[in-house]
């Protein structure tokens, strides 16, 4: 059963077609890779799904419901969370406050009345924050300011923050950027754990070791259009993909 369906989704910036008539279907429970050269429209696609950018035309359907053009906080409430290409934490909040803020969209929280949700939180909330920090391996940093964390820790915290509201679909925008091999492997393991926990993941990534290893299916974008879709092995061999990556340029596909 598809959890996310994009139908002829387009985003034009003036004359530039950042995303052009994109059709994409993500099945429930899979890790779906979205790759493509720089400027191919991957991040724009994420921003369109999350409602950060207004859609020019087309539709975003999540779990059978049309969420096109919803505001970001309502997209999250529907069950779609995301991380950012460049880390965007609340630097002057403590590590656990970062998660605490993000928990406001949890199912349990949204059922509470206004005063309890925002002003009179219970001790049970703190326990769930600690659980999530434990999973992210940040429990001993809980009172540290987020700005003081190392790069790898910040990435982990951002992932934990996206998961705080218990989303069913997670959009990761280049989570491995700037990571060393060890950290990439740890991320690989964490993504598989999440998949087993029932979270569907869309992975936008440049680091091919990660994408080829962890994803179930991959779609390749170039100039805002989908040029290939299929199993990782097939994508690796695909001629159009190699053309897009190697093109007339000096870039190489780091696989």
């Amino acid at each position: 059963m598809p959890i996310l369906e994009l139908t002829s989704l387009s985003k034009h910036f003036g004359g530039v077609r950042a995303v052009d008539e994109l059709d994409l279907t993500v099945e429930e429970g899979e890790i779906f890779g979205l790759i493509g050269p720089n400027g191919s429209g991957k991040s724009t696609t994420v921003n369109l799904i999350c409602g950060v950018l207004p859609v020019t035309s087309g539709q975003v359907v999540f779990e059978g419901r049309d969420i096109t053009g919803r505001q970001p906080h309502r997209v999250l409430a529907a069950g779609v969370a995301r991380t950012f290409q460049n880390i965007r934490l609340f630097g002057y909040l403590s590590v656990w406050q970062n998660l605490w803020v993000a928990q406001n969209s949890m199912e349990d929280r949204r059922r509470e009345n206004f005063a309890k949700r925002w002003f009179f939180g219970s001790g049970a909330e703190r326990d769930t924050v600690d659980e999530q920090l434990e999973f992210a391996g940040l429990i001993d940093k809980r009172n540290e300011l987020a700005a003081n964390l190392s790069f790898g820790e910040q990435r982990r915290l951002e992932l934990a923050r996206a998961l705080a509201a218990r989303p069913r679909l997670l959009l990761l925008d280049e989570p491995a950027a700037g990571m060393n091999l060890e950290e990439v492997q740890a991320l690989d393991g964490r993504l598989r754990t999440l998949q087993q926990a029932g979270v569907t993941i869309v992975l936008v990534e440049h680091v091919m070791e990660l994408v080829m290893g962890v994803t179930d299916r991959i779609a390749v974008l170039n100039f805002g259009r989908k040029i290939a879709e299929g199993l990782p092995a097939a994508i690796r061999e695909d001629e159009a993909v190699q053309q897009a990556y190697l093109g007339g340029n000096v870039g190489t596909m780091h696989a």
Binding site: V52, Q71, H73, V101
Partner: protein, 297 residues
């Protein structure tokens, strides 16, 4: 003694004014409209006590609510602009309210004398306190009970999720939205809450000075409103209080012996304070320092 009670009153009212800006500043919005909301609280409450003969407490609440509603309405257009543009827009709005009072004439006869706001002449004879036999001390206590209540409410908010949400919006709006925060509600809500608090301050101000006019509520007052929390630091509400005591108690009153040189030193000392403590007088470091004095490990 009356001088000190008078000073206490000024510090109390300015603390309320500073706290009204504190709430809005936490969401990353720099507002110079607080003097405008303050003036709404002042005029509306004074009209209620003088013209309608209300008690100060309900008059204060209604006036503050009016100021809060107007502030909420200002909050909506403010959603679309940020940074310097917002500063300019809020200045324009503050001036708009001030000029409204400059042109506002509404007087009736009460017990043989004509009372009410009289345009550029201002609003005289706001005599609720003397008429009801409140001494300067009574007024000072009344003010500080309200200051304490507001500080308690904001201190609690700071420690709750709502407080963390305000700061999150102030740091990164896009990230805040993507963790499920309704940006419109938070920013408009912060403006409305700030307007409400400023309205309370204005209502008290009108009654202890007994005479208000549009010139009291200019850009200078608006600048003071944001200077307090910025100088004091946005970490907690006590920073604002410390900054008001520093500015009103020390710089304005304490340096009076310097005559005309006072204003010069006044500015220089604020610049110095901001350089020594760039994140405000009460920041992470000074809090840790004070905590260290009371705990041993």
């Amino acid at each position: 003694m009356d001088f000190f009670f008078g000073l206490l009153q000024i510090i109390g009212v300015h603390t309320i004014l500073g706290l009204s800006a504190y709430v809005v500043l936490q969401t990353g919005q720099v507002t110079l409209a607080q003097a405008g909301f303050f003036s709404i609280g002042a005029y509306v409450s004074a009209m209620l006590t003088v013209l309608a003969g209300w008690h100060i407490v309900p008059a204060l609440l209604v006036a503050a609510t009016a100021a809060g509603i107007v502030a909420g309405i200002v909050g909506f257009p403010a959603l679309r602009i940020k940074g310097l543009m917002l500063v300019v827009a809020t200045i324009a709005f503050g001036e708009f309210i001030r000029l409204f009072w400059f042109n506002f004439d509404y007087q009736i006869e009460k017990k043989g004398i004509v009372v009410g706001p009289q345009g550029g002449e201002g609003f005289k004879q706001i005599r609720f306190f003397p008429e009801n036999g409140w001494s300067t001390l009574d007024v000072a206590i009344f003010i500080w009970v309200i200051v304490a209540l507001i500080m308690l409410a904001l201190w609690w908010t700071d420690r709750s999720r709502a407080g963390a949400v305000l700061r999150a919006v102030g740091e990164d709006e896009l990230a805040a939205q993507s963790v499920g925060i309704n940006l419109t509600a938070v920013k408009v809500g912060a403006f409305a809450a700030g307007g409400f608090i400023a309205g309370i301050g204005g209502a008290i101000y009108a009654h202890y000075t007994t005479h208000i006019e549009h010139l009291n509520f200019g850009v200078m007052l608006a600048t003071f409103a944001i200077a307090y929390p910025i100088l004091g630091g946005l970490r907690n509400v006590f920073g604002t209080l410390v900054a008001v005591i520093f500015i009103q108690g020390f710089l304005v009153e304490g340096l009076r012996f310097m005559g005309d040189w006072r204003n010069l030193l006044f500015g220089a000392l604020i610049v110095l304070a901001m350089n020594v403590q760039p994140r405000g007088l009460i920041d992470e470091r000074s809090v840790r320092l004070v905590r260290g004095l009371f705990t041993r490990n």
